[in-house]
Amino acid sequence: MKKIIIFGYNNLSYEAVSRLDQKYQDIVIIETDPALIQSAKDKGYNTKNIDFRCDVALKSLGIGKSIDVIFCFLLEDFNNIFLTLSARAIDKNINIIAIAGSAQSAEKLIAAGANKIIDPYQICGQKIHELIKKPDITNIIDHTVFGRDDLHIAEIIIPTGSSLENTYSSTLSLNEQFNLVLIGIVDKELGDKLHFAIGEKDHKLDAGDILVVLGPSREINAFKQEVTNA
């Protein structure tokens, strides 16, 4: 179970929380505005009102001990930078995901120790550009990745003792057996890099390797069962 803290309650955090599977994650939202706290509470989220500028308060949340991930979704870039810097100072290994309002802030956030920067404006711009250039593909991705239909991209880790161990990726034929399309493989023998499954290389599958597949959730679950049950 991952412990996650989200700083700031706004459109972005709302979207992120609703996408995170709350069964498997423990999520706390930090907000100071009473109205926003109330609206988050109404949605059934766990909220706390603390001052992120205070290291003691951050530690009291569990940063440095139990917290795995923090989202810095505060509206001002300088606040996010300050928060990232404070959290990184407390915990060297925490996973920090921050939003950046401009390219310069992104660099500063990286310097402050953030693991992943998300620039909403840049992503929006890129998506609109995609929509103009390749409307069909973008619509498909919208329906799959962005989950408007029952098509999802999922990653499946091959457990030890799975029937897939010591088989080859070319023999998987997921499209016939499970109605899934194999998008990529992380072959641990070759490092943590994702290899797209475009028939360039035949990967030997071992425990710990990750398969990225695209398909309806029922089929994904069926495949997960098959992989783990063996």
Partner: protein, 532 residues
């Protein structure tokens, strides 16, 4: 008696595609400011005029050889043809005949040939007496041998140059804007010159010991002095004359600076419209461009990406700082409110634009621009940005084809990054086309190698491609499984081996850029092959 064939002939011209086509061609060549042909024509005419003037100047002191004579003849023929063509283009005589005839028919009065011809003649005379046509005509005359005296009209050949460039029109426009000020100044100057002419003549006439012999000299001296040129060929000698000179020089300075300031301010005021006109002229030459309304962070990101693709676009924004940025990047821009009909029309929403992007930071404005754009052009592709989820439906209602929520996409990516980091990398990789791996559509053209082929018979593996699905609007496929509705067509995920591809279907594959391009080339080539 003459009426019948005349009317018949007029109708014949009206319905003749050949006549219409040739008239359009010459219109594009000579008059249409937006045609490329006109600019080439203008440039070659400028060269021709310059050369002919050179020959004429040369012939003042030398005798032209045969080539020179021939060239002069050629130039005159070109000028005459041009003059006649312009006269022809100026009005549509056959339409005048037809409208007169139809009017007569309607009112049940006899059709008068004389009256009609008079009308046609009036129209053509209007052309003949227009300033620019007179200049054209005068430019032809200098080479008429018996009228060698008319060499002076050579000047008009140079005036003709103005016809082929826009600058004189712009200058005239600027001046006409300041008519009132210039008139005031001219009247003031007229009085000044008049008074000083009389005064200097009184003080400086030869009988008073000066050297202003008559009123013309006095007038000439006044102009030379008031303009602060002061040649000094006529100088005042008497005390009174010098007083007049001092007064005239001082007021001359005033007049001159007043005149300069009028011209400068006129240009300043006109600068904005001049620039805008240039923008529109630039736009009118483009085709299939994109209108970006709002040049904030999102707009800038889109512009940068479009520049990479060499896709033409225009930026509209009201904000000074945003426009400065657009200027710095050499983008075509309009600094104005994109929700106004005129601005969008001028930006080419109905003439060449393929998409409108409403990406300001304000949802209210985005809705307004979307609505305006949809009203102006029912078929254009509109993509809008919604900052709040509640406004998505409003944007669709206003007529947007697609709505993007920056925060939704980012929130989702953030969640995905935590939950499924590898899948996240895959999505990002495909979205941003990292490592040259991309998802692409292969269109099934009629008669191409993909048409009527079964999915199982296409060797995707051998081509190093992964099949994802097929997009089709064809109703035949509707009974198949894994169907997802996307807009007005369906996406068939992971189609079975016996799925038959039909013309206009789109196959979606994942693969490296080379493999996809190679396959696309083969498909393109195969559709050109004759059907066996």
């Amino acid at each position: 008696m003459l009426a019948k064939p005349l009317v018949y002939f007029a109708y014949l011209l009206k319905t003749s595609p050949y006549y219409q086509k040739s008239k359009r061609f010459f219109y594009n060549l000579l008059e249409n400011p937006q045609s490329k042909m006109k600019s080439y024509f203008d440039i070659s005419m400028i060269c021709l005029v310059m050369l002919s003037v050179f020959f004429l100047v040369y012939s003042v002191e030398h005798k032209l050889n045969e080539i020179g004579e021939f060239f002069e003849q050629f130039v005159v023929v070109v000028f005459i043809v041009e003059y006649l063509l312009r006269a022809w283009l100026f009005s549509d005589s056959h339409l005048i005949i037809i409208s007169e005839y139809e009017r007569a028919e309607y009112l049940n009065i006899p059709f008068s040939v004389i009256k009609t011809l008079k009308k046609i003649l009036e129209k053509k005379l209007e052309y003949i007496f227009s300033l620019i046509a007179i200049i054209d005509l005068l430019a032809i005359l200098p080479s008429y041998r018996p009228l060698r005296i008319m060499r002076i009209l050579l000047i008009f050949r140079l005036f003709k140059l103005f016809r082929y460039s826009n600058s004189i029109k712009v200058f005239a426009d600027v001046l006409s804007n300041k008519r009132f000020e210039l008139l005031t100044l001219a009247i003031f100057m007229g009085f000044l010159v008049f008074i000083s002419t009389i005064a200097i003549y009184l003080f400086e006439n030869p009988s008073s010991g000066g050297n202003v012999r008559h009123l013309y000299d006095a007038f000439y001296w006044s102009i030379v002095t008031i303009s602060t040129v002061g040649y000094g060929d006529i100088t005042p000698l008497t005390f009174g004359g010098r007083l007049v000179t001092i007064a005239l020089i001082l007021s001359g300075l005033g007049v001159l600076s007043f005149f300069t300031s009028i011209i400068v301010s006129a240009f300043n005021e006109k600068m904005y419209t001049l620039r805008e006109n240039r923008t529109y002229a630039e736009l009118s030459r483009l085709d299939n461009f994109i209108i970006i309304c709002g040049f904030g962070r999102v707009g800038q990101e889109i512009a940068a990406n479009l520049t990479k693709d060499q896709q033409a676009f225009i930026v509209i924004d009201t904000d000074e700082n945003n426009i400065k940025l657009a200027k710095k990047n050499n983008y075509i821009y309009i600094q104005d409110d994109a929700s106004q009909n005129t601005i969008l029309t001028n930006a080419g929403i109905n003439s060449g634009a393929s998409s409108v992007l409403c990406v300001t930071g304000n949802d209210v404005i985005n809705v307004y621009i979307t609505l305006t754009s949809r009203f102006l052009n029912p078929d254009i592709n509109i993509i809008a940005r919604a900052n709040r989820a509640d406004n998505v439906n409003k944007l669709y209602q206003a007529g947007a084809n697609n709505v993007i929520q920056p925060f939704e996409v980012s929130g989702l990516l953030a969640a995905e990054h935590v939950g499924q980091p590898v899948a996240f990398e895959a999505i990002l990789g495909i979205l941003q086309e990292q490592k040259q791996i991309l998802m692409e559509t292969l269109i099934v053209y009629p008669n191409s190698l993909l048409e009527n082929k079964l999915i199982g018979d296409i060797d995707f593996k051998h081509r190093k491609l992964t099949l994802v699905g097929v997009i089709s609007a064809n109703k035949i496929h509707l009974k198949r499984r894994n169907r997802y509705k996307v807009k007005n067509q369906h996406f068939y995920f992971n189609p079975e081996n016996h799925f038959e591809l039909l013309a206009q279907d789109m196959v979606i594959v994942l693969g490296r850029k080379y493999s996809i391009e190679h396959f696309q080339d083969q498909i393109e080539k195969s559709k050109l092959r004759p059907v066996k």
